[in-house]
Amino acid sequence: MTDLLARIGHFGAFAGRVAVRMVTPPWNHEDFFRHAWTVSVRCLLPVIAVTFPFGLVIGLQGLAIFDLFGAQRLLPSLISVAVLRELSPVLASVLVAAQAGSSYAAELGSMRIKEELDATEIMAVDSVRWHVAPRVAALMLACPILNTVGDLAGLAGGYTMAVVVKGEPSGVFLANLWVFTHPSDVVGGLIKTTIFGAIIGMIACYHGFYATGGAAGVGRAVNDTVVRAALTFFAVNYFLTSALFG
Amino acid sequence: MAEPTDAPVRLVDVHKRFGTLTVLDGVSLDIPRGQTTAIIGPSGTGKSVLLKHIVGLIKPDAGEVSVFGTNMATAPEREVYAVRKRLGMLFQDGALFDSFSTGENIEFPLKQHHAEMSAEQRRARVEEVLAMVELPGLYDRPTPALSGGQRKRVGLARAIVTGPELVLFDEPNSGLDPMTSDAIDALIGHLKETLGITFVVITHDIVGTINVADHIAMLYGGKLVAWGTCAEVTHSEHPIVRRFLGRNLILPAPHDPASARLPSI
């Protein structure tokens, strides 16, 4: 138990160092934009590939529920609420953790194993400021962007199921889409994903930064990152949902 | 030179390129049975690639590689595996399984291919082979705890445990300090005497090679620039061969394996 607390403390200290370097100059602009771009591009298709089928599935199961009450016209709103508030933020973040989080852990882990991080420090450059801070900041920017993409893909999935597969009238679907949704749903989703992005970034960079043990150590860092990041933001998601939408 | 039909390994006009890089450019070679052949040459000239052709991990673009009469590139998997059961290979870093103990690593090919042996028989054989590589009593040592020299010895033990007719060595001296390197050379020489089987050694350690090998082949630029007995090659007039062996033209006295046997590292 004390070991766990010690490790959490160690992580907290690291997160603090990163946070300070994210808000104080000098900043590594180039890497920040480069990472944000790379993450967005590389995660784009995976996010769509996951949120679209989920939209299809919500449409499918939602229709099954609402058919029982003859309330099919409520389906679009259910879909949009589910997607915007919960599904897209969570799914997009899981994918970002799996794709970008694991690749940051792998990159920094490799750099640690090959002593590149040590070399940076010896050249009197702060490796946390130079390598870590831009990555975390990049995820905080990319996650909400990808969330928006996920929103659209999820809605498209719901639309496809209801209109294309099940033959509900398109106009009715679109008209009913926003009945129960508010701008706060979209904003809530964006807030969630910004926070999730920070969580994923911190955890991924932490595991990569402190990787040990050669190539196997890199594998371990990636493994630990995806699992712990997912655990953390699922837990945080609960509290955020209660606070934002409860 | 041995009769062609007697050669356990025959390469006939083997070509191999990776992208734009030609690694093997028409190499023909018959490895003589029961002798130790060293394949030397500067780094990156395709020595390891040649070795992987022999065991069938790589297939040539053109030409033929046959081992014990089987064409390794075209034969079905069953036959390739049958050939592999008759040979052993020592990889550069030993390629041992970290999750097994030392003894379990050596026992692995026995367990897989000799179901007729009982556990006691396997253990006895492993101990026998451990003694041959001068690591008695290390059966239960966890593999990650082995030193570089010990990993090579254990890898070698695993390669000979099934009693193969052919053993291949991929740079047995790489990554070892001079003392350990000498010890490995001595071990190879000693096993050569004891087992009397065909050895093929890929190396760029000239001095050690000369003391161990009966025949030497030199690869340069993808081609075979020298091939013959140890004496023939070391006295060759070929400019590239002379350049490569140049620093060692004054040959040291032949190694006495007994005197070189230091406590194993």
């Binding site: 590939a49 899981v94 799996a98 694991s102 690749s103 997912a230 655990l231 | 390629a95």
Partner: protein
Amino acid sequence: MSALAWVGGLAYFAWDWFKVAVTRRPPAGQTLVEAYRIGVQSLPVLLTISVFVGTNLALQGYNAFVPLGGQRLVGMFVAMAGVRELAPLIAAAMIAAKAGTEMASQIAVMRTREQIDALEVMAVNPYWYLVTPRLYAILAVMPALSLIAVFVTVCASYCVAVYQLGLNGPTFLEYARTSTHLRDILTGELKALVFAVIICFVSCYCGFRSEKGPEGVGKATNQAVVLSCILCVSFNYLVSQVLYG
């Protein structure tokens, strides 16, 4: 590498494994070890995530149904969404993240250290030796884990519904019970088996195809998780469409 070529390669890999392994017994003793590792290692993660999925199901369901005056239906919503769709998929995602990445990284490390070449040279088929125990292990363990995920999700939803949102417990359970049929549970188990196969083959394939060095290991592990998730979600839709469409 184009997506189609990759999927083709994966199918070919699965077929290669099938040819060599289906008529032979798996390597002795390893299946149980793997099953234990996969099951025990994934369990804490699975439980935790299931709890939080359950909590949010209840919260969002409640929010969705309140404007309709249908709070009582939250139990039904949780049962249908959780049991039919979310729980098996969450179980799959967590197994992919934990066990899948381990398979990929172990095999990738072996490739880097020439251990797979060594297996081949010792005339042991690496697909048979490395994939078979992992596949049988994950097939054995996944249905149980999926069932646990379902159970924990519903329990967590119940707790939130009753203790945080103040709904009526028995009503919740009544609606949940009547909306859940045996068919739904079995569908979930079937999905779990499909996901298990996907995760195992994808992760092992990524490991076998990895490049050398620590970067290769990292990349392979990365690919394994992402592609497992994408394929599982896609198959999830297909299975649901067929069985519920």
